[in-house]
């Protein structure tokens, strides 16, 4: 299994290497390299997945690790940990990645950076799979940063467009804020426990090596990373802008896989969340689910509606982890990956058609604008029907996968609220159910505006046509995977997944935070869980249908006038339309504040620091001048004096050297006489 995982992981990296260096020179610009690589990964993952199903054991886990850094007492091990959670996640990721690769062949056709696009997709697949397979938080962090890099590269793929390159930077910087928390969380874990390996952390936390406020802080800080990556409030601002990237990227990275990495991380570390940390997680998730849904209602850009919908659904997953409905949260991740990727690919198909129509007619307008669409269901039947299936799944209608997971989350949230003594916690299910109505409403608003009614722009409508098979194929695949049956087997009941393979295999890990260590613990009695589940299911079906009904009333049957209604609630409408002015607030406070602070620092640098440096230079120069005088006058004087003395003495003494032999003999004789006299005396 480990070898299999290594192949699954490294084949896309190889493809990336080939693509980035030789992509342009390969036939078909090398798209078959990347598609082939992810295809291999997909089939190997399928083998792994089938083996897991054949094994059918909730405790199944394979773990292998090697020492990576080993310096004195500082030890980090790197390894691969495969349990049912990781394999299920890998299956979802490779499936979506594979269909998105195939779809991209059609969507990106003729792009000048075609090969580079596939190279990035391969790099992303590699990083994402590494994130899933690594057994330690440090490895996950490295891959976490790599997927962030891929996201940045792909959002800014059309970097000639200023909005695209800005969006890339925004995504990167916003994520950095979350990663800052993640990193501090990692440091807390490592300094207190001395290991990054998740299984070891579990053991050590259960032994009480990390307790109290520090444990809560570690949980919340690690969650901060997930807030950034999974675009939770208040760091959600990057995801809608990330829609500047090509649509397959939005489907793969910004809907199905990378943004779900935060949820995956939370699932991995959920055992170490203290009760307080879980409350924070649940409330941020719940609030985001509701908050983002309200923004999605008023947006007119087809991809932005889906982006806010993604944020909202990620909020659901995070909330589920927070209320202890671990299985439901991760379940929603998997089902959501399928239908949300499908929605994005469907919207990509529409945009592709719009783009071509605009190209033909010479109209220069935003191809994403739903106000220019309408009636497309006759022109693009496959896109329409698949889009409808995805929307039904997202709205939580029975017979589709989304219903199973969303219903489980809402039931879990309700059970959590019922088990708490404080009634304030009913806020969480309220957020959840309200978001469910709104979700159904905005999805059907989108469908009605895009596919029903009269064409708003007949000139464009003329040229709209269905996308090629390479694009509709992935849509049909994903639509099939949004049917309930795949997620309820071996049971075939469309109303519940309790008996499914998923609930059998992916079990909530035993929490390492126990009462013995002095923590309040989340306990939900079984009967509450059961009644909450039944009630939750009823309410969620009713609410979803209500949402759809409302959308039909407003936009299809036009029983109620949309204009009049928006005018009546104008302030609320504006608030939603302008996304609660969050971007403006960030610009006015954080960005402006940062710039001001930068200016202060620049001034400080230019005047104080440079002044200090210049002062030091000034002092040095003058000291040097003094030193120079001393050197020239005194030291050189001394040396010259010695030389002069020697010369003068020589001048004197050379007079003795007359050259007269007789004088020398006389000298010698006189010396001899002197010696003799001296000796005698």
């Amino acid at each position: 299994m480990i070898t299999l995982a290594l192949y699954i992981w490294l084949v896309p990296l190889l493809a990336f290497g080939i693509q980035i260096f030789f992509g342009k020179r390969l036939p078909r610009k090398g798209d078959w390299v990347s598609v082939g690589a992810i295809g291999i990964s997909f089939f190997l993952t399928l083998i792994m997945f089938v083996r897991m199903l054949l094994n059918y054991s909730p405790d199944y886990a394979v773990h292998a690790s090697v020492p990576w850094i080993n310096v004195g007492t500082f030890k980090i091990a790197m390894g691969i940990y495969l349990d049912n959670l990781a394999i299920t996640m890998a299956m979802a990721v490779t499936t979506v990645s594979f269909v998105v690769h195939i779809y991209s062949i059609g969507y990106m056709e003729g792009d000048p950076r075609y090969s580079r696009f596939f190279a990035y997709l391969s790099l992303f697949s590699f990083s994402m799979l590494g994130l899933i397979f690594f057994d330690n938080l440090f490895g996950i962090f490295m891959m976490w940063e790599l997927v962030g890099l891929c996201s940045y590269l792909l959002i800014g793929f059309y970097f000639e467009k200023k909005s695209a390159s800005d969006a890339g930077k925004k995504a990167f910087i916003t994520n950095r804020v979350g990663d800052w928390g993640f990193l501090i969380g990692l440091l807390i874990v490592f300094t207190t426990l001395g290991t990054f390996t998740i299984t070891d952390i579990h053991t050590l936390v259960a032994q009480g090596k990390l307790t109290g406020g520090l444990l809560t802080a570690a949980g919340i800080l690690l969650f901060a990373g997930a807030v950034g990556k999974s675009a939770q409030f208040p760091l959600h601002v990057w995801l809608p802008d990330a829609m500047e990237g090509p649509t397959p990227v939005s489907a793969l990275i910004h809907a199905a896989t990378m943004v779900a990495a935060g949820v995956y991380l939370m699932a991995r570390i959920s055992f170490m969340l203290s009760f307080d940390a879980m409350l924070v997680v649940a409330y941020i998730g719940g609030f985001t689910a509701f908050f983002a849904a309200t923004i999605a209602i008023t947006q007119n850009d087809i991809k932005r509606v889906l982006a806010y919908s993604t944020i909202s659904q990620l909020g659901y997953m995070i909330m589920a982890i927070g209320v202890g409905a671990y299985q439901a949260g991760f379940f929603h991740l998997v089902t959501h990956a399928m239908f949300k990727a499908g929605l994005f690919l469907g919207s990509g198909s529409v945009i592709h058609a719009m783009h071509h129509a605009m190209h033909k007619t010479g109209v220069e307008e935003d191809p994403n604008d739903i106000r220019l669409m309408g009636g497309f269901r006759h022109k693009m039947p496959i896109t329409y029907y698949t889009f409808l299936i995805f929307s039904l799944a997202l709205s939580g209608i029975p017979f589709f996968s989304g219903f199973l997971s969303k219903d489980a989350i809402l039931g879990g949230t309700l059970a959590f609220a019922m088990a708490q003594s404080n009634p304030i916690h009913y806020l969480l299910p309220t957020f959840g159910f309200l978001a469910a109505i709104i979700t159904a409403f905005y999805m059907f608003r989108l469908i009605i505006k895009t596919f029903f009614g009269e064409p708003k722009r007949p000139d464009l409508y003329e040229h709209i046509h269905e996308s090629p098979k390479v694009m509709t194929g992935p849509l049909i695949t994903l639509a099939t995977l949004s049917i309930w049956i795949f997620f309820t087997l071996p049971s075939i009941s469309p109303f519940g997944s309790e008996n499914s393979w998923y609930y059998h295999l992916v079990k909530k890990p035993e929490s390492a935070v126990s009462v013995q260590l002095g923590h309040p613990v989340l306990e939900i009695p079984e009967h509450i869980e059961h009644s909450a589940h039944v009630n939750g299911m009823m309410i969620s079906i009713i609410f979803a249908l209500t949402g759809i009904l409302l959308a039909y009333m407003f936009y299809y049957w036009k029983k109620w006038d949309v204009e009049a209604f928006t005018n009546k609630i104008r302030p609320l409408y504006d608030l939603s339309y302008h996304k609660y002015y969050i971007d403006e607030i960030y610009n006015a406070t954080l960005v402006r504040g940062l710039l001001l602070w930068n200016n202060i620092l620049a001034w400080f640098d230019a005047h104080i620091i440079d002044g200090l440096v210049n002062g030091a230079a000034f002092v040095t120069r003058h000291v040097s001048r003094l030193s120079g005088i001393f050197d020239l006058g005194f030291v050189d004087g001394l040396v010259n004096a010695v030389a002069d003395l020697t010369r003068d003495t020589g001048q004197l003494l050379r007079k003795v050297q007359t050259g007269q032999l007789q004088f020398y003999i006389f000298g010698a004789l006189a010396g001899l006489v002197l010696i003799i006299i001296g000796t005698l005396m």
């Binding site: 050259g659 007269q660 007789q662 003999i665 006389f666 004789l669």
Partner: protein, 101 residues
Amino acid sequence: MNTLMPYLIIGAIVFTLGIFTIIYKKNAVGILMGVELVLNSVNINFIAFAKFVDKGINGQVVAIFIIILAAAEAAIALAIILNIYRTKATVDVTELNEMKN
């Protein structure tokens, strides 16, 4: 005349005369004569020491060597002086200062 002292005194006187001749004479031929005197005073000493102290013939042998040496030396020196005279028309040693400076 059977004591050493008179010979030594005679030798010393001749040596002194020879040295002073060398020192004071400006004429190169005169200096050469002084050298002969010095050599002969040494001869007197050798023979006197041979007769009274050594009681052998070693001293006489050395004296004969010196006489031969002196003859050779005189011949070479006179040849040099003659050549100097030919080129410079003088034998005054104070004038022979071409290598000075």
